[in-house]
Each structure stands twice: as C-alpha cells, then as structure tokens.
C-alpha cells in the first residue's frame, strides 16, 4: 500500500464525498474502469480496504467519489484535509477504449468510473453520449459533473424536477434510442444498481449492441488472492473474480 494525502475534500450532504488524493503511481497509470483499495491509515477500523473507482486523474493526483452506505465508507468520509490514506492500485481491468461510438449509462454513484471513461473519450475524440439517472433532488448535484461534456449528456431523476426527464435512466435511454442511429462498432458502457444493469442487458439482446458493465461486490483483497469477489459465469460453471477478471465485464459473459 502507498500513502495518499487528502488534498481536497468536497461533500454533498452526509452521503456523498469527493476526495482529491495525491499519489503519483495511481495518477499516472490508472485506466478508466480501474479501481483502488482504500484504507484509513490509523488503527484497524475499518479493517479491510474498500474498493473505489478512479473518477479522474490530474497531474500527480487522482479523484475518488463515493456514497456513504455503511461503516467503512462512513469512517473514510470522516477524514479531513491533510489526513493520509493507504491506497493500493490501480487494480482490475478497465473498459475497452475504442468503440466507434459510445453510449454511457450511469446510475447514481455509478457515475464514478464512467466520468473517467467519458473524459478519456473526449480527449481521444471518440463520440459519446452520457446518460445519468439519479433517484432524487439530493443527488442532482451529480449532473454538474457532466458539464465537462457539454452537449453530450442527458439526465433523468426519479423525482419530478423542473427541466429534467422524470423517470429512470433506462426509460430516458430507451426514448433516446428510438430517435437515433447507432453505427456498427457502437458500445454501451454502464455502472449502477443491479436492476438497471439487468434492463440494459435486455436492451443489448434486442439490439445486439455489446454492453460493458462495471460490477460492485464485496472485496476482501482487491488483488486476486482471496476469491471473495465471485460472480457467476454466464455459460460456464464457476465464477469470475471481479477484482481480477473485472470489475468491467461484457454483460453477455455474466449470468443474469
């Protein structure tokens, strides 16, 4: 593990945190879709690192963005500017990076690796459209992240909001699909709640556009030794290991 210093901290309410962390190796090597294991430095609560996707890299620093869902993410969220974290990474296999056109579908905190992916596409002039779905007004701040991709994004909110699409990101995406042509070599990229990924997978099957999803599981180690991050294979018997074989998978290789 390497030390990373908290250079910036932003929070939105009690539930969402963004940190800018200084650590060269991750900043220089991380690819969109890869993640890091993060541990508080002092003491052993929480004990294990928590997997968090890289959101952005900038010089010798990188950004994390997470939702507080349990004990670990809460304790990490309590660390202040100047505190140190232990980080291990970049880990795992990221997204494929050369589609002819990309459709990016994010649900809530699933925006994190996809923001990184879209930034990459923007830099490399891969055409893409970003769809973000949030649950409620409290999460609307995430739409601001997308301003870097002006013109190329749409958002939805499950609560009625003025000026926004009201509904799930899946219905938003489906209605967009109706009116748009997808050239061969197009790809869908997604990260978010399981139900959302499932709906997208049905869409993939109908339209035959390959879908790449980034999965979340409990992780013991993050680097392939403990076999705790198992997800069922689609065809075969047995399991993939999210930390080594993923976290990004072709949806059709998984069991749904």
């Amino acid at each position: 593990m390497r030390e990373a210093i908290i250079e910036e901290k932003k929070s939105w309410g009690e539930r969402f945190i963004q940190l800018k962390l200084k650590e060269e190796e991750i900043a220089h090597c991380a690819q969109p879709g890869q993640f890091v294991m993060v541990r508080a430095q002092k003491g052993f609560d929480p004990l294990l690192g928590r997997p968090l996707a890289v959101m952005k890299v900038e010089g010798d620093s990188f950004y994390l963005f997470w939702e507080v869902v349990g004990r670990g993410t809460k304790i990490l969220a309590s660390l202040n500017l100047g505190s140190k974290l232990e980080v291990l990474g970049p880990l795992g296999k990221g997204f494929s990076l050369s589609p002819s056109q990309a459709l990016i579908v994010a649900g809530g905190r699933g925006i994190t690796p996809l923001y990184f992916l879209a930034s990459h596409f923007k830099k490399n002039e891969v055409p893409f459209t970003f769809f973000l779905g949030v649950k409620n007004k409290e999460e609307l701040f995430m739409v601001d992240f997308l301003q870097d991709f002006s013109g190329a994004y749409f958002w939805s909110c499950e609560e009625p909001i003025e000026g926004g699409f009201c509904g799930t990101v899946i219905s938003l995406f489906q209605s967009w699909l109706k009116d748009n042509y997808l050239p061969p070599g197009s790809r869908i990229y997604s990260c978010g709640p399981e139900g959302m990924l499932k709906s997208l997978y049905r869409e993939e099957k109908i339209r035959d556009i390959p879908l790449e999803v980034s999965l979340e599981t409990f992780m013991g180690c993050g680097f392939g030794v403990c076999m705790s991050c198992a997800v069922e294979k689609g065809n075969d018997e047995g399991y993939f290991h999210v930390c080594k074989d993923g976290p990004v998978f072709l949806a059709r290789e998984l069991k749904w």
Partner: protein, 302 residues
C-alpha cells in the same frame, strides 16, 4: 545482524513468517506487491484433486476487527496449479507449502501423490479444519477416526514434511494430538477460522447462503494464542501459530509462547506487504533487545 532462521523438524525456514493458505492465492497474485524472497514460506491456496468452484456469493464480510469468510475452498485443482503456477513460484527463494484437502479421504491422498513428486515443494499442509466445507457433516478434525485415517493414508504416499492444520472444532485435543503424533505428522498449524454467524438485519436473513462462515483476523488473536499455548504445552511437535496476526508484536506473542513460526492470513488481504513489515519488526525487536538468534526467544514465556 540477527538470525531469524527457525527449524521445524525437517522444515527449515529462513524466517518465521509464513503466508497462510487462502490469503495469498497461488503466489502469482501477491507477488507484485510483496517480495516473496523475504518471507519464510508461502502456503498455496487449499488444493483439491479436481478444480472446485467454491461457495456462492457473498463470500466475505467484514465484522469488528475481523472477517467472516465463506469461500468454500474454490481452487483450480492440483494439476492446473502444477502446470500454471509452480514454475513461477519456484523462482523465489522461499519455502513452498501446499495446503490440500479433499471431499473424500481418497481425494486427499491423490492430491498428496501428485505433489509428492515435485521436489520444489517443501511440505504439505492438510486442511482438516475448514469450517466452510461441511455439508451437513462435521469437519474432518472433529472426528478422530476419520482424521486418523486421512492422515495415515496421506503419510503413506509422501515423504515430505506433513503439516496438519487444526481449528477450534477439534473436540478432544489431547487424544487428537496423540493420534497425529503416532501417525507420523511432522508439524501442526493452528488455528483455522472459527465457525461463526452473521445476520443481515435489513434483509432479515442470514448473510451467508450457507449460514455459518469462518471468523478470522485480529478479533480471534487472544483465542488463537490460548489454543496454541495449550497445544505447545501438550505436544512436542513444532507448531505454526496463526490467528489474527497483523503486527510484529502479535507475531512475537505467538513465538514467545512457543510457536516455532507464525502465519498471516487476513493481514495479507488488508495490505499485501504487511508480512514484510512483520519480518522487519521482529528483526528490530531482536536487535533492540540484543538477542542474536530468534530461536533463543521462542517459548520464553510459558
């Protein structure tokens, strides 16, 4: 310069720090983050004869100062290990221990036979105490007859130092230790994880599909230490102590009460380089206390 080497009968380690089975994969996975030349030994993930898929997820859950695991001994099988990983592992200057298990007595023997041929493997560790494999029946080590028979059969097919890994489910410790000594076991290792329970309060169901899971990590250290103490008291076989070690001081506790070596499990998950800091911490302690040979420290607190 201090001498960290330890002798466990027919097994000599350059230092007492071993990576425990199931927490360092097949070696390949941890190698980028830890210089394997620096540890006393690595114990390969528990191998069966045929590849085995293990338990359905979720397989792991953090609890206070510990983890519950229900991996269920997923592994690629002994043959694939030999083909894919052994030559990579062989390049390191460290001892190679292989943890083995089987669904049946026969499977234990077949795995041991495969490995016996390979010179580079320094010892076999029989996992008779995994709380995640029972299928309605008890773990092997809680039934003396079965245990005796497995050990005897494996002993018959291999000359390699034989380690038997015990856990809290052993019922009659003294009888069990007698049997193991008589059957020609070389070394004991303990402890495996403790059978435990976790309830998902939100969902109102057991967190693990198989209900019970194994507790390990710092939470169990004081219990593991007592177990090792009692075993060292009773038997003359060398003991590898483990359970909750995450610092050099934790390791020194086990060594002081008489363990000849220590293994790190969960520690490797939380930081793959932790084993190295344990080696270095022990070295520093010896230097600070002007003790030239680690062996002089072992068993000094009884």
């Amino acid at each position: 310069m201090v001498n960290l080497a330890v002798n466990l009968g027919r097994l000599n380690l350059k230092n007492p720090v071993i990576l425990a089975s199931g927490t360092c994969g097949y070696g390949r996975e941890i190698a980028p983050y830890l210089d394997l030349n620096r540890v006393g030994a690595i114990t390969v993930k528990g191998l069966s004869y045929y590849p085995f898929p293990g338990n359905p997820p979720p397989r792991l859950r953090e609890v206070y100062a510990g983890v519950l695991n229900s991996i269920g001994l997923e592994n690629k099988g002994v043959r694939r290990f030999i083909q894919e990983d052994l030559s990579f592992l062989s390049s390191f200057d460290t001892c190679l221990l292989v943890n083995i298990w089987g669904h049946t007595e026969d499977e234990f023997t077949r795995v041991a036979q495969e490995l016996d041929k390979l010179e580079r493997i320094d010892a076999l560790e029989l996992n008779v105490s995994c709380p995640n494999t029972e299928r309605g029946r008890a773990v092997f080590c809680s039934d003396l007859e079965t245990l005796k028979s497995i050990v005897a059969k494996v002993r018959a097919v291999t000359q390699k130092p034989l380690i038997v890994k015990l856990g809290p489910e052993v019922k009659e410790w003294e009888k069990t230790l007698d049997v193991l000594e008589n059957e020609g076991v070389d070394i004991l290792s303990l402890t495996n994880s403790f059978p435990a329970l976790f309830v998902d309060v939100e969902k109102r169901e057991f967190f693990f599909k198989r209900k019970f899971a194994g507790l390990s990590g710092p939470a169990i250290k004081p219990l593991a230490l007592k177990m090792v103490y009692e075993v060292v008291n009773y038997t003359s076989l060398p003991v590898i102590g483990m359970g909750g070690i995450i610092s050099a001081y934790d390791a020194l506790e086990f060594l002081l009460i008489g363990a000849k070596a220590v293994a790190l499990g969960v520690a490797n998950l939380l930081d793959p380089a932790l084993a190295l800091s344990v080696v270095e911490g022990i070295e520093k302690y010896l230097q600070g206390n002007k003790i030239g040979n680690l062996e002089d420290l072992i068993g000094k607190v009884r």
